[in-house]
Each structure stands twice: as C-alpha cells, then as structure tokens.
C-alpha cells in the first residue's frame, strides 16, 4: 500500500473491507495528536495511554459509521472526547489536586526533557514553565479544559471544535473565552516577566 498517497477516507474504506493494515496506518497517522490531547486532558500515567488506545479501539468498532466526507481527525476527536468524558465520570468529579512544584506535577504530562543546547538554568526554567502551564490547564474545569486543549494545543478551528464537542458555535466561543480568561488569571501574574 502506498502510504503517502492513501487518503484517510481510502484507509477507512479498506479497513471496512477487513484490511487491518489499513487501520494500523490510520493509527500511526493519528496517534500522536490523540495521545497529546488525551495526556493534556487527563494527565500523564498509564491512564493516558490506556485511554488513547481505547480511542482507537472504539474508532475501529464504529468505523463503519464514519462519513467519509467529514474529516477523520474531527471524527476521531469526537470519539476521544467521549472516552475522556467517560473516564472523568468514572474518576468522579473531584477537583484535581496538582502540585505547583516544578517537576513534581502529579498531573499533566511529564516535564519537558531539556534540549541539549540549553544550559542547566535554562533547562530548569523551561521545565518549570512547562510544568506550571500544564498544571494550570489541569486545574481548569473539564468542559473548559476540553476547549483549551483542542483549540490552543491541537489547533482545531472553531467549526471543528463545535463538531467534535457537539456544541453550538456560540457555546464554543463562550467556553474558550472563559477558559482563556481563567488561564490568563493564573499564568500572567506568574510568568509576566518571561512572556
């Protein structure tokens, strides 16, 4: 199979015909951003990978329902959100308690590995900043976290957001505004001199 030229829609069609290699290719194409989104929504740890796997498993099971005129990623984001929300429901609605100590985040993804050209101080600062921002995201209420992750981390358009979240556009805009405002209130006072 020519990997480069095969569109997602074609891979879906082949998957429906029983070609599991086609689905494996779909997974490899889309796994990184799904994993990135899941990790920023639920935190690092075995939960995140398990959930991310669950997303693709659910996608496989319901792949016949994918309308090929739609974007595969939008559809996949919708499945991801359902999985994440189920996860949250199972976890209960407890507010997440997150350490603000750099590198000790028990929530959010692992600290960013230092890049080779950074000096030790730069590495520490960068790592701290990343942890801090991630902690702030993790502290958002879940419905605000969703829009922030999908918009500002994953880069979805407003329309794609509305579709993936199954929300009206107005609600999407309003949630995004509230989410950014909440983050700004936390991030800017701490990081103002760095930004």
């Amino acid at each position: 199979m020519d990997e480069v030229s095969c569109s997602d829609a074609e891979l879906v069609r082949r998957t429906c015909r029983g070609e599991s290699d086609a689905f494996a290719l779909l997974v490899s194409r889309h796994q990184d951003y799904v994993y990135n989104a899941v990790v920023h929504l639920v935190g690092q740890g075995w939960d995140a990978e398990d959930l991310a796997q669950e997303v693709f498993l659910k996608a496989y099971r319901s792949i016949g329902g994918f309308r090929r005129k739609a974007r595969f990623s939008t559809w996949l984001y919708g499945i991801m959100l359902n999985c994440v929300r189920s996860h949250w429901r199972r976890q209960g609605r407890r507010p997440r308690v997150v350490s603000l100590n750099p590198g000790v985040a028990d929530d959010g993804p692992a600290p960013d590995p230092p890049s080779p050209q950074d000096g030790p101080l730069d590495q520490a600062v960068r790592s701290e900043r990343v942890s801090f921002v991630r902690c702030c995201i993790a502290k958002l209420p879940e419905e605000l976290r969703e829009v922030i992750v999908l918009r500002d981390l994953e880069g979805l358009s407003y329309k794609e957001l509305a579709r993936s979240l199954s929300l009206p556009l107005g609600t999407v805009k309003s949630r995004l505004f509230r989410a950014r405002r909440a983050l700004r209130a936390r991030i800017v006072p701490v990081m103002a001199d760095e930004l």
């Binding site: 599991s20 997974v27 359902n82 990343v130 800017v188």
Partner: protein, 502 residues
Amino acid sequence: MRCEKPRGRLSEYLDGALPSREAAELERHLTECESCRRELEALRHTVRALRELPREAAPPGFGERVMERVRADSPAPTYAGAGGISLWPRALSVAAMLLAVVGLTFLLERDGFFGAGERASRRTVMLAKGEGPVDRVSGAARRRGPLEEGLREVADTNGLGRKQDDKDAREGRALDATVWRQRDDVRRFAEAREAAEAVDMEGEGAFKAVPALPALTEAEEIRPAVSRERWEEGAPGRRPEAGVRALRRVVAEEPSSAARLPVRRAGRLPLERQKRAVFRQVALADAQQPEETEGPDQILIVEADKPLELAEKTVEIANANDIGDVTLSLPSADDGPDAGVIEVSLRVPAARYEEFLRQVSGVSLPHEQRLCNSVAAGDNLYFQDVSRRYERSQAAAVLNLYGGRPERREEMRAPARAGIALEGREEAFFAEVQDEAKELRLSLAFLSPGEQVKAEVSADFLPPGREVNLLIRLVRRAVPVAESAGLPAEAKAGELQETPEE
C-alpha cells in the same frame, strides 16, 4: 464604550474569528482604552504559552499495542472478498460461489438470552453481532441454497408486501429506492450508498452480499434487490407469511434441529394477534457491567405479528443508537399461546434503554404495548409499564427518560418538582420548544458535559392543555434554576404559548 463587551470579544479577536465590522469596532476601542489593550496582550501571551507547550508523542509501540487489542477484540473477517459479491444466479462464477459459501455463516443461538430452561424450543438466528451498529436485517446461513431462497422470498415479500398496487412497476423501484435512502440516513454506511447505486433493477431478483464491517464478523449481510419483473409478477396476492414460512423452513432444515416448526397458515391472523406488539424486557443475570453505563445491558425483546417490517425498523433504530447484538427468534410448536409470534431481541446498554424504548415504541401499534416489569440485577434500573407512563403527566414521563437512575424516579414523578431536581447537578439543561405545523414537539435534553439525551414528545399522544402547559412552564422554570445554580443552561422557546386549560 464600556469595556465589558469589548473584553468579551478579545478571545475571538485573537483568533481572527470576529466579523470585520465588529473587529473594526473593537480596534477603535482598543486605540482608546489602555486597560483593554493590556488585557489583549495578557490573553495573547497566555495563548502563546499554551501553543508553545511541547507536544507529547505517543509512546513507542503504541500502534502495535492498539492493533493487538483490535485483533483480540474482533477477529478478521473470514471471507476473502473485497467489494460487493454478486450472487445473481446467472452471473455467478464458481469462484464467487465459493466465496459466498465461505462467507456466509449460520449461527444458532445457544442458551442465548432466554436461559437454558426457558424458550429452549425456540430456534434463533443471529442477525448481527458486534459492538457497533447493526448493519441490516438479514439472515445468515452456512448453506446457501435454502436460506438464500428463503431470504429471497423474505425480501420479495417484504418489499412487495408494503404496496398493494401492482399497476405501476415503477413504484416497486421507487419503493426500493426509498428503502435504500432510509437505510442510508439511519445507518450512514458509505457502502450502503454504493451498493444502492449498484442495484440493478432490470436483472433477475437476487441478492448481493455486502462485505461485513469489522464489527460484524459473524453475519454477512444479504441485501435484496427486486427487479421490475419480480414486482410485476409477485405483487398481487403475495402473502406476508410466506417469507416467515421460508425462514422457518430453513431453520427447520438445520441438521441439528430437533424441533419441528409449524408452518403458519396463510391469511390474516386474528385481530388480537395482530395487535400484539409487546416489549418484554429481560434482565440479564450475568450481564457484564460496562464501565460507562450505569447498569447491565438489558435485553429488549420486541414481539410482533408483522415481524419483518418491525424487525427492519427495530434494527434501523438499533443502528441509530449504536446497538449491536440483534437476534431474530422463531417460535416452535411448544410455545403454546406464543406460537406464531416472532421476536427480535436486542441487547441495549442500560443508559440508552429508555430512549431506545421510546423510539421503538413508535414503531409498533400504540395500543396494548406492554413492558413487563422487571428488575435488573442490582437496583440499577427500573421499568414501568408504558401504559402507566402514558397515563401520567407527559412531562414527568419525558423527564423519566433521562438517565434511568432510580434515585431520580421519585424526583421526576411530579413535573412541578422537576425544576428542583435540576438544582445542584452538574449538568446543563437544554430545552427546546418548537411548534411544527400542527404538531407540538417538545424536546428536552439533559446534558452532562459532553452528553446529550433528547426526548421528543409528539402531539399525537400529548393532549393539548394541561400537560403541554406543564411542559412549557417546566422549561421556563428550569432554565433560571439551572443558571442560578451556576450551571450552563440554554433554552430556546419557540412560538408556543400556554393554552387555556380544559
């Protein structure tokens, strides 16, 4: 210009999503307001900090682990075909015949949903099995001949049985075309569209096997195609029971079968039989507890005397609700008063059960619908007679469709209290009231974040007056209640006004 409105638009402005007129207005304000300029900068920095976050890649081996789970979850289909396989007798090649033989599987339900002692005499054909939506109503058999023949009759009968007018052969074509479109709308399978376009209405009536989707590995779909000739020759006097008879014959011929199935007599069934559309809910004692739902899956059994039409519609609704396991059950002579009753049973996730019931109840006759009370394992679910539900206030009935949580039952009974039930809950309440032509449709949706349950109440059985007023008042009351509790709430009120009560 005060700053509240401009501040509210800064986020959209940052994304370039403001219409140009509003953007220009905002920019004018920004030139004059340092505070808002600072706020915009702060937001911009925030968004930049977010977008500069390093991206997490999937860990090594992630793809392999996914595919392991995929393969463990659903084995590869057993057939070798790609694309549609035509089983048209004339064109059938040896290779195609072999493919058809290999690809069709006949399943006999073992203990099934009925337990070892109960219904042991019934023979059951699994129509579809899987996690995903059911493909279509179809039969599946390891032996092509008898079942194919039987299904052809079923298909012909089913297709032709709806129309009594044999004069216009084009109606037959239109009927099938309509069926295709309806199926597409409900099931959304791209293959359905392709297959529908490929149906040759001029050829001999035959079947086309559409490749099973990954979730359906044990049932192959057989799609009927009805030709003009068939329509012309077959329509008058075609007996609806012929198809059922054919199915019975097939099942009876299964070598392992010890039961003899009676052949139903042609002709109309007695009136009371015709009216029997019964929903019986059977609790699965050993049902698996799905993680996401609030109780075990329930087995809904739909009985009818017009089984194929009802089965098809039930399967359509099953598809729309992502319900997978669908079984067609044929009675044997041992069934006594139940002989002659066909059952379609579906495994329905608990969280969707009420909503699914409501939809299916619209398929069969509204009279004498009966839902047998049954208690699931544990106290996760409750069931009420549909008739009782109709008697009660429609508002409460509609609200009862939400969640199916037993603790809500008491709260939801009186519609006046429904507004109170919304307080303090972490859901959004969305209500839409609209008037369509001469019908009143009231949609109530209860949203958990990311979840939406809609219940529609049609005016057909919702008498104007008291119940409608209650519903309207409920909607109007619930929204501010939700908002005052700090919950997101959205309500759209249509043109409806409360009517003077009778």
